[in-house]
């Protein structure tokens, strides 16, 4: 990687040319770490963020009020930024993981990974995939997702890969706001009207079965965790359950948890490329323009 981002003179509001989000960052692999494995791990965390971001962005102009439009869009933007960094890290760690594009295509690795992989090649957990449902379900899902991600990122700041550690250190600050925002909404809705309580309760019940997958360790996570690079999700289960229990207690919804994690997921899951049908539908919409113009410059 040249590391240079010498720009053009295009002066739109936010620039129109691509910027390598890791420009100048030393992406050398840590000693003894396999590039393919590191890339696979970055895709897991990056795809989680990308798909969650896309779903949250669907709320823009549809949220209960203007402030919430802005809030969910902001959270989506933070997650999109994390996804860009992680996908760029994956592309740098293993260029072979990047889908091939026509010669001369200006599409950078991070975008090729986002827009030119099929659902089978995505590595996100299923929790982030389903359609949003109502606002109660969305805040329930965000609570579950952000609580888990925050616990992962808070440990990942000590990763032996300095790039992952840096991405995590930024992400912790952001996701702490996301988690607390979702937690306050769950409590507010649960203690609001009978209808808001019914809806947030239904939302929690809808996302609860996905918690089992969050606790599962993929072989790549296990190997990289032993190498001091990744976090084993099994190590954050107690912390996540503790935080969720606190929220449920404040919401007077103790009967839903904390450890009622639903059925254990057997067989392959999202980390293995086995997804809900909702992901393919989401990707079809997200990727259609980029795929129609693989040599396009945006």
């Amino acid at each position: 990687m040249s590391g240079s981002v010498t720009g053009d003179d295009a002066h739109w509001a936010f620039g129109t040319s691509f910027v390598d989000p890791l420009a100048g960052v030393d992406t050398t692999l840590p000693d003894g770490v396999d590039g393919g494995e590191l890339a696979a791990y970055c895709l897991m965390l990056g795809d989680d963020a990308l798909v969650a971001s896309h779903r949250l962005a669907e709320w823009c102009s549809n949220a209960p009020d203007l402030e919430e439009d802005v809030a969910l869009a902001n959270i989506a933007l933070d997650l999109l930024g994390q996804a860009r960094l992680l996908l760029a890290r994956a592309a740098a760690a293993d260029p072979g993981a990047v889908p091939p594009l026509p010669a001369g295509s200006p599409v950078p690795g991070e975008d090729a990974l986002a827009f030119f992989r099929d659902a089978d090649d995505y590595r996100c957990v299923r929790l982030v995939e389903p359609e949003n449902g109502d606002f109660g379900e969305t805040v329930a899902r965000l609570l579950c997702f952000a609580t888990w991600r925050l616990a992962l990122l808070a440990r990942l700041v000590d990763s032996r890969d300095p790039v992952l550690a840096a991405i995590a250190a930024k992400g912790v600050k952001e996701v702490a706001y996301h988690r607390d925002h979702a937690a306050r909404w769950v409590v507010t809705l649960a203690r609001g009207t009978a209808e808001s309580r019914r809806r947030v309760r239904a939302g929690l019940r809808a996302v609860w079965p996905h918690r089992a997958e969050l606790a599962r360790t993929h072989p790549v996570e296990a190997r990289l965790a032993r190498a001091g690079v990744a976090v084993d999700p099994a190590d954050v289960v107690a912390e996540v359950d503790g935080v969720l229990a606190q929220v449920l207690r404040a919401a007077d919804l103790d009967d839903l948890g904390p450890c009622a994690a639903g059925p254990v997921l057997d067989g392959p899951g999202g980390r293995d490329g086995r997804h809900t049908p909702d992901l393919a539908a989401l990707l079809a919409e997200m990727q259609v323009v980029a795929r129609a113009h693989p040599a396009g410059r945006w």
Partner: protein, 169 residues
């Protein structure tokens, strides 16, 4: 074009004066995102750091830095990103805080110091915020997320004006 005076000083000064595209009352130096300016002959290397992971202003900062420095006569301008240490609102300078205040934005308090698990906060974020327009402390949080990634929205009960507060991170 010949670069006059001390090139190092010039480049640093020029880069420091580039403003943030979303909060143009702040220079990149006052915002604390300008981390390093290094001159070698007629080449400049500028290191910036994003405030938030998804900050869309980074590309414009890059373009603005390149334009200002090439206009000043530097032959090559490399703008690179430093992710670590992560940006903190504590890096906003005193001059930056005064500029925020003068433009109707409330400056951040001290950033939280975190080690280990992040404690859940179910109440409204406790901040010592005063209305930047009328100075009243009678303010109410309207939203933890404002029009840019780094701000929250408040409303003043005394003068009824809404205002942005730069968040502590």
């Amino acid at each position: 074009m010949t670069v006059l005076g001390s090139p190092v000083c010039d480049a640093r000064e020029l880069a420091a004066q580039v403003t943030d595209p979303e909060m143009p009352m702040l220079t990149l130096a006052d915002l604390g995102v300008l981390r390093e300016v290094k001159v070698e002959g007629d080449r400049v290397r500028v290191v910036i750091t994003p405030t938030y992971s998804g900050c869309p202003a980074l590309a414009t900062m890059r373009d603005d830095l390149v334009r200002v420095l090439t206009t000043a006569g530097y032959a090559a301008v490399d703008v690179v990103v430093a992710l670590a240490p992560a940006w903190s609102s504590d890096w906003i300078t005193e001059r930056g805080r005064a500029a925020l205040q003068a433009h109707g934005l409330s400056a951040p308090g001290p950033a939280p110091r975190r080690t280990g698990p992040v404690v859940l906060d179910l109440g409204p974020t406790r901040r010592d915020v005063a209305c930047p327009r009328c100075g009243s402390g009678e303010v109410v949080l309207a939203s933890e997320f404002g029009p840019t990634a780094c701000t929250a929205l408040y409303r003043c009960r005394a003068c009824a004006e809404p205002f942005q507060h730069v968040k502590e991170i």
